[in-house]
């Protein structure tokens, strides 16, 4: 079930309330931003405004923190988040080629989301799976020992799956 906006707000508020009795309440900002991103998919302005009010932190500070850490998305992200590992081991084994292949296949640049909101392309520094280098992570799944061709195949599979899912949904609704 999709959560309604009110539910989402309530969930975040409950999460924030969990820290209220802690010493240095404000220091839990990053944890709260993580949670907000988990709930909403990315950090939107009104959510950060809510956090500012709830935690009594200036919005400029929250914005400063949200933009400092690369883990936080400030724009909506796609259904599948592709993180190409550019750690040394992967780099040495040709991660750049994988990256270029993805860019070409999806027609987007680093940090962007495809117009169909299916894929978001990001890079990451070492997923700790160096033995499988080069690797990429799609949502939580790690794909290893990649080649450009293999990567493109994987993306096409995801796209196919998503389209099938959408078709299924459309059918149900009919």
């Amino acid at each position: 079930m999709e959560q309604t906006l009110d539910n989402k707000q309530a969930e975040l508020k409950t999460f924030i309330d969990g820290f209220r009795d802690k010493e240095h309440f404000e220091s839990y900002l990053i944890a709260v931003l993580h949670k907000a991103q988990e709930i909403h998919g990315y950090l939107k302005k009104d959510v950060m405004d809510d956090i500012a009010r709830e935690m009594n932190i200036p919005t400029s500070h929250i914005w400063g923190v949200a933009t400092f850490y690369h883990y936080f998305n400030l724009k909506p992200i796609g259904k599948y988040k592709i993180s190409i590992c550019l750690g040394t081991a992967c780099y040495v084994k040709g991660a750049e080629r994988i990256l270029n292949a993805v860019k070409k296949e999806l027609g987007i640049e680093m940090g962007d989301t495809t117009p169909d909101e299916l894929f978001t392309l990001q890079i990451t520094r070492c997923l700790g799976a160096c033995g499988l280098a080069p690797v990429a992570m799609i949502n939580d799944k790690i794909h290893g020992e990649l080649t450009a061709e293999k990567m493109v195949d994987i993306l096409r599979k995801y796209r196919k799956a998503a389209m099938a899912e959408a078709a299924e949904k459309a059918k149900e609704q009919q």
């Binding site: 200036p58 919005t59 914005w63």
Partner: protein, 596 residues
């Protein structure tokens, strides 16, 4: 504060020569003490230590890396080198790196050569560039009526960020993003006008370059001045006369009252009035309002309302205190309101043809001028505000020999002022002026001891007591919005602690306003000695006035007789008073979060 004599003296060597310096301070402070002046950029004595620009590096024997002298403590036996070729070249390269990512438009820049970066670049000996590459490119933010933010000129020293958060506690500005892409900006990169910015302009004061400048109106004003169809009327704030000389390389502290009157007339204004007149009028209204409140008609403590930055701050940060704030308009707006009503009527002028200009020390006044709640008969009291810096530029641009001009008097009837009106420009001045009048109105006796030393000086928060007819009046004065926050927290918790509170948005009051001349090469922004001299100039004017109490100003008396009736009359309320309301976005003052 610890004085040098109280510090334990220690022995250090600087460039191989022995020195005795005070301990318990930074290397930079110690070097300052014995006559060195290490170049510096992100350092500001009133702000927290950032250690970011690395311009102030020195060599310390035994340490692998250079040491930022602003941040490192001086220690017994330290061997410091400020002059080796290596460290000099490193400093030079650091400044070049800053310069390499900075627009090269010095010859057309607002700072007019009075730029810390330019001075540094020259003194570091940067004559050639080695590392030129990509420069940052961002949009200018022109949204605010007061302040322009140009990230391209920003060198990320962070002084504005710390000023805004530490001294003003407004936190409109913060670093966002990181690395080469770091930008100082308001939350969400929103237009400045939609942020919590109070328009105080202190970011401009501390900015070493022209990353922050006021929204200029000079060209528009030149246009107006040459338009024969309108009546150009100007007023000038007290603190402008105390600082304008600095823009012409005079030492701080020269009061230039008559010179300003003459100059403004030369510039083409039809009438030259003095904000100090309306300051006297403000006192009449405000003192009366205070006495009313004291008698149970309204909330106490009463808080002053003349500082525009404070008023915007109040609406966003302290809407719960709206009823405590005096309903008086600022002297600038009172003047404008009078000009377009009484003065126009008396002289058979169409108020719509009058163009009112205020020369202010202040950028927030540009915002105030636009406030709809100040309008009289659907007219803005003030049509344009220009800062001290802008008028100085206009004088230069118009080719007026300011330094040799013959002083003239202000025009009547809105040009005569008492000493009380003069000291409005310095922290504590409004309170002092108000008490001079309130005392007499309340007790019927003239207050003889009118120089209130408790309320003078630059302590962040000043408290005092006055006994009027056996009643103890407790007062507080705060300058800078950070100090104000402390007093206001007290007001929130203990509403009975004070009867009367004066708040000025800028450090030092209007003399330290965000529109005042830039610090010159021998000083730094908001230098306390400089502020002191500006204050002295105003106190000096007060001392030489024969009339030093607002209610004794004959023109003020006349205007009540001819027009307003009495203070707080219905007409007064219509023309000279207003009401404020809460505004979005709401400001948040954090207890813990530091600037990072």
């Amino acid at each position: 504060m610890e004085t040098i004599a109280e510090k334990k003296m220690i022995n250090v060597t600087v460039n191989n020569k022995p020195y005795k310096v005070g301990g318990n301070q930074t290397i930079m402070q110690a070097l300052d003490e014995v006559g060195f002046r290490i170049p510096r950029l992100c350092y500001h004595p009133k702000l927290s230590i950032e250690g970011a620009c690395r311009v102030c590096i020195v060599e310390v024997e035994g340490m692998r890396n250079y040491v930022a002298s602003c941040a490192f403590p001086i220690l017994e036996g330290m061997k410091i080198r400020t002059d080796s070729n290596d460290v000099r070249r490193a400093r030079r390269d650091i400044v070049e790196l800053i310069l390499d990512n900075h627009p090269e438009d010095c010859h057309v820049c607002e700072r007019d050569g009075n730029c810390e970066l330019q001075r540094l670049a020259y003194s570091m000996g940067i004559r050639k560039r080695h590392f030129v590459g990509e420069k940052k490119h961002y949009e200018k933010d022109l949204s605010s009526p007061s302040v322009i933010r140009d990230p391209n000129k920003c060198i990320l020293c962070g002084r504005c960020v710390r000023m805004c958060a530490e001294i003003q506690k407004v936190s409109a500005l913060r670093y966002a993003h990181r690395g080469f892409h770091t930008v100082v900006m308001p939350a969400y990169n929103m237009p400045f006008s939609e942020s919590v910015c109070t328009a105080c302009g202190q970011c401009i004061s501390v900015c070493p370059t022209a990353s922050f400048v006021e929204k200029g109106n000079c060209m528009e004003l030149f246009d107006k001045l040459t338009n024969p169809d309108i009546i150009k009327i100007v007023q000038i704030a007290p603190s402008v006369r105390a600082s304008i000389g600095e823009a012409f390389n005079l030492d701080p502290g020269r009061a230039m009252e008559g010179e300003m009157a003459a100059t403004l007339r030369k510039l083409g204004f039809d009438y030259v009035f003095d904000t100090q007149f309306s300051a006297d009028l403000t006192i009449m209204e405000e003192a009366s309002e205070f006495l009313d409140r004291l008698q149970g008609k309204g909330k106490l403590p009463m808080i002053t309302s003349c500082s525009s930055a404070w008023m915007k701050c109040m609406e966003q940060f302290y809407p719960d205190l709206i009823d405590n704030v005096s309903t008086c308009k600022s002297p600038m707006s009172m003047m404008g309101s009078l000009i377009k009503t009484h003065f126009a009527a008396k002289n058979n002028m169409d108020p719509k043809k009058i163009f009112t200009v205020a020369v202010m020390c202040c950028t927030a006044k540009k915002y105030e001028a636009q406030r709809p709640e100040l309008q009289v008969d659907e007219m803005n009291p003030t049509d344009m505000v220009i800062t001290t810096r802008e008028i100085a530029w206009m004088i230069k641009c118009a080719g007026i020999d300011f330094l040799r001009i013959k002083p003239e008097k202000f025009d009547t009837p809105l040009g005569v002022s008492s000493g009380a009106g003069v000291i409005f420009g310095v922290t504590g001045g409004v309170m002092e002026a108000a008490l001079r009048t309130a005392y007499e109105l309340y007790t019927g006796e003239t207050l003889m001891d009118i120089e209130m030393n408790d309320l003078r000086g630059f302590k962040g928060i000043k408290e005092g007591k006055v006994v009027m007819d056996g009643k103890e009046i407790r007062i507080a004065v705060a300058h800078g919005l950070g100090n104000a926050n402390e007093v206001l927290e007290v007001v929130r918790k203990e509403p009975d602690r004070y009867h009367f509170v004066e708040i000025m948005g800028c450090p030092g009051g209007c003399i330290g306003g965000g529109g005042q001349p830039y610090a010159n090469s021998n000083s730094e922004p908001l230098n306390e000695a400089c502020l002191k001299k500006r204050a002295e100039a105003l106190y000096g004017l007060d001392r030489t006035r024969t009339i030093r109490r607002s209610h004794e100003n004959p023109d003020v008396q006349r205007i009540y007789k001819e027009f307003l009736g009495r203070p707080l009359s219905a007409l007064s309320h219509k023309i000279l008073h207003t009401h404020y309301k809460a505004k979005e976005p709401r400001g948040i003052i954090s207890k813990e979060t530091k600037v990072r």
